[in-house]
């Protein structure tokens, strides 16, 4: 395809002016179509940079300078010498993966069901699945507290069976799950819609059972979308504050996650320990974003190569 275009280019113009030729054959870029005056263009660009730096860049930069103000050794010391801080890191690294794992299982099931079947109440579920994005996480936490409180039958049975819930890891996982519930489903639904049910039907007609169909056909087709959703869900789960704050009881060294610990250190004027832990939290988010970016790149590359293949026929 590329060489074909190249031939056409070379053959169509007898004048060997490569630059002019390239310009005349290049598809119209945004620059060519733009009609705004340069004044408006530069105002908009400056505004974009102002907001990006003013709201995101400078505060985060300041956070890191504060975290490292006492030197690198103090930074590590403030994180690793404090038992409660270490415990909070451990707790976050327990709760976030658990919530992500459970949401992955739920997300795969829900997205597949919602795209492949039409059933009564489907539209309602599609609408309500976004509820956690709309409801404040504090409300979520309170709901869980009321639901599992000692006056309800849920609380009664949890108590009778001796299952620890409130002020313990299960309620914190559940709060985190609730808040991050829509992320993976929302990532998977468009991907599943796009690939359609035909390949799955074809696999079934060729004798594949449900597990074989899922593992060999559905999963490879949605893998990148799923990974993307998992990373996004993970980033959000690590940082969850409000719902966890309500249900955990905030017991230092026991039910304090990283965000809760950062807030406590800050309230107790323990600087730069608060900034150090906060910057660690930020670094985790950057890592996730970096991974997401890499996957996005690969995704674009894949789309591009598929298109090229199609055009090549």
């Amino acid at each position: 395809m590329d060489s074909f275009n190249g031939d056409k280019l070379a053959g169509s113009s007898p004048v060997p002016n490569v630059a002019a030729e390239a310009a005349s054959f290049a598809p119209p870029s945004l620059r060519d179509c733009r009609t705004e005056s340069p004044f408006i263009q530069y105002t908009l660009i400056i505004l974009a940079w102002f907001f990006f730096l003013g709201i995101l860049g400078i505060p985060i930069l300041y956070l890191f300078t504060q975290a490292f103000s006492g030197g690198i050794s103090l930074f590590f010391q403030s994180i690793f010498a404090d038992k409660d801080t270490l415990n909070s890191i451990f707790l976050t690294l327990t709760i976030a993966p658990l919530a992500v794992l459970l949401n992955t299982v739920f997300g795969l099931n829900a997205a597949w069901l919602l795209t492949r079947y039409r059933f009564p109440g489907r539209t309602l579920i599609l609408t309500l699945i976004d509820l956690p994005f709309a409801v404040s996480p504090v409300v979520t936490g309170l709901c869980l507290v009321i639901l599992a409180g000692s006056r309800t039958w849920v609380g009664y049975w949890l108590d009778r069976l001796g299952i620890p819930f409130l002020n313990n890891t299960p309620s914190m996982v559940m709060g985190t799950m609730f808040v991050t519930l829509p992320i993976i489903v929302r990532e998977l639904i468009p991907v599943l819609e796009e690939i359609g049910p035909e390949q799955e039907l074809a696999a079934t007609s060729l004798g594949a059972n449900g597990t074989q169909m899922f593992l060999r056909i559905t999963l490879p087709n949605i893998a990148i979308g799923l990974l993307y959703g998992v990373l996004l869900c993970n980033a959000r789960a690590i940082g969850e504050f409000a719902s966890v704050a309500v249900v955990s009881g905030r017991i230092a060294g026991a039910t304090e996650t990283m965000p809760l610990r950062v807030e406590r250190l800050f309230q107790e004027y323990k600087s730069p320990a608060d900034f150090a832990l906060a910057s660690l939290l930020a670094l985790m988010a950057f890592g996730t974003l970096l991974a997401k970016g890499l996957i996005e790149n690969r995704l674009n590359y894949r789309h591009h190569s598929v298109k090229k293949g199609k055009m090549g026929q």
Partner: protein
């Protein structure tokens, strides 16, 4: 393996997709389900495959009742309309899929896939991805994949639908030859009468969830059961007229406002009409030439009745056309070589 569909009905909400349909496909037969879109042909194919379950009626393969058994248990080869190739798998993996899920050994898979690659003439393309294939090649991969596990029945949904005219006619001829080689009971769905007539042993014409006519292609073309079938199988001119002592007579044009079922019409195919310079044949009508189109080996002439503005189409051999010195605006006499009449359809 024969297929027998008995009194099958299927409804989607308020839409009656199939209304008491029965067909018999004898063993080794290649049958075409033909009809306009929405006539229920695809639903019938999906019911035969096991992708849909009928509301009533039964489907049997030979002597086995399969109405409610699932598609993965029926061992049918199904070729989907847009092929539904597995995008993330090579041609080899696509074709070998049915064998892999059946846990065949690697050497047996290799052997069977190479046999099939040979059968569909795709040797050397094992490692290509579906996106690197042309439409015709994808279709053949889909067919090889469907044949891999030696199904008892081959079902194809609009197998030529997505192809351009040239590839389409090549594949038709190829599919016909393939069928003669493997002689598998096959059913395919199409809305194109040429597909049906070029490939099938038997054609079933459907409309509005019912069967209008079934039989051999020649029978159906020569003796259409009703005006719908006649019209669907190719262009047809409608006149007032009658048959008198074996002589076909035309008595008038059908005006644009005159409806379909009112009165008794005679139906004449474009190639069954002839043109004359003078009123030399009994029962001929006069019209004005408005267009002369050379179409392949024939000359297609469109005439208009100046009174009723009814239009008719006449296909002439190009030698005959030369003789008549056809040109726009010329008045010609139209006479039939043969006419067909149908009993009027009574409807409530």
């Amino acid at each position: 393996m024969s297929i027998s569909v008995k009194n099958v009905s299927k409804r989607f909400g308020n839409f009656q997709a199939l209304d008491n349909v029965s067909i018999e496909v004898t063993s080794g037969c290649l049958l075409a389900l033909l009809g306009p879109s929405g006539c229920g042909k695809t639903t019938l194919l999906r019911i035969i495959a096991g992708l849909e379950i009928p509301d009533s009626g039964s489907v049997r393969y030979q002597d086995t009742e399969v109405t409610h058994s699932r598609i993965q248990d029926r061992n049918v080869g199904f070729v989907f309309q847009h092929y539904a190739l597995f995008r993330h798998m090579s041609v080899f993996e696509n074709i070998g899929f049915a064998l892999r899920v059946r846990k065949w050994s690697q050497s047996k898979v290799d052997q069977r896939v190479s046999e099939l690659m040979h059968l569909v003439r795709l040797q050397g393309m094992e490692d290509r991805m579906p996106s690197q294939l042309s439409g015709g090649q994808r279709q053949r991969v889909a067919l090889a994949r469907a044949l891999a596990a030696e199904p008892k029945v081959l079902l194809l949904d609009e197998p030529f639908g997505a192809l351009d005219a040239k590839v389409r006619s090549e594949l038709r001829a190829w599919l016909r030859r393939l069928h003669e080689e493997i002689h598998m009971t096959s059913v395919f769905v199409t809305h194109d009468q040429e597909d049906a007539f070029a490939v099938a042993d038997k054609v079933v014409v459907m409309r509005n969830g019912r069967i209008e006519q079934q039989g051999k292609p020649v029978e159906i073309f020569e003796h259409p059961a009703n005006p719908f079938v006649m019209d669907f199988l190719g262009h047809v001119n409608v006149f007032h007229g009658r048959q008198e002592n074996d002589v076909p007579l035309l008595t008038g044009f059908r005006g644009p406002e005159e409806g379909e079922g009112s009165g008794k019409w005679v139906y004449v195919r474009p190639h069954e009409l002839d043109l004359y310079l003078h009123n030399q044949v009994d029962g001929s009508l006069v019209g004005t030439i408005i267009q002369v189109l050379p179409v392949g080996g024939i000359i297609r002439v469109l005439l208009e009745d100046p009174v009723s503005t009814a239009r008719i189409q006449v296909d002439l051999h190009h030698l005959r056309a030369k003789e008549l010195l056809l040109e726009n605006g010329k008045r010609m006499w139209v006479a039939p070589k043969r006419i067909r009449t149908f009993e009027p359809e009574y409807s409530i």
